[in-house]
Symmetry: C2
Subunit: 104 residues, 2 copies
Amino acid sequence: MAIQNTGGMQRRPTHPGEMLREDFLPDYGLTVAGLAEALGVSRQSINELLRERRAVSPEMALRLGRLFGNSPEFWLNAQRAIDLWVAAAAIKDEVERIKPLDAA
Amino acid sequence: MAIQNTGGMQRRPTHPGEMLREDFLPDYGLTVAGLAEALGVSRQSINELLRERRAVSPEMALRLGRLFGNSPEFWLNAQRAIDLWVAAAAIKDEVERIKPLDAA
DNA sequence: CCGAAAAGTAATCCGTCACGTGACACACGT
DNA sequence: ACGTGTGTCACGTGACGGATTACTTTTCGG
């Protein structure tokens, strides 16, 4: 059966920027500017990502996946968890007012 | 091991709007306006979704998942496939210019 | 038939967001 | 002291989800 998880999780999921900051940058010995150049984006893009002020876009996910040898999906999964968490918090009551069709 | 799929897929992945139009609407006997009202959004939002002119947002995914009894991830997975496909087509050469760190 | 209600769609406005550029301040090493 | 690199802010741009409004087409009851 499909797990529903209608409740959503308690705490905000880990932001990809945190993963980058805590794990990837130290592990690879990269600086912000260095990463920016390696990815072919501006320093600000990386900076805002690390500060968790910007989401990982599909384009950015492609770049990150390419550089670090993992899939774009890896980065977008983390981002999606955040997006869903934020969206759920924002329109929680709206969504709960929707009557599931199965349960008729 | 992590499968890489660096090549990307040949044809454009199925748009969530197509799934709605071809499968969900007929199966549940819903009209566009009916779906819009059931979800609590405007008719245009649904209309543009069905015509594949708009992406499934996290908010919309929450609504759809709630109404149809499946997960928001289901809808966002389909959307992400499209987003990645489009992004890859757009910045393919840019990404390929990035040197993977592992492969040194 | 015909007129009204419902459904599809186009146009417009608004808020948000990823991204680049330019500028600024603060280090730290030579 | 100077210059290089790094963190950050301010601004402009283009794209996009969404609502509202209005116009067109279809459908259906009398």
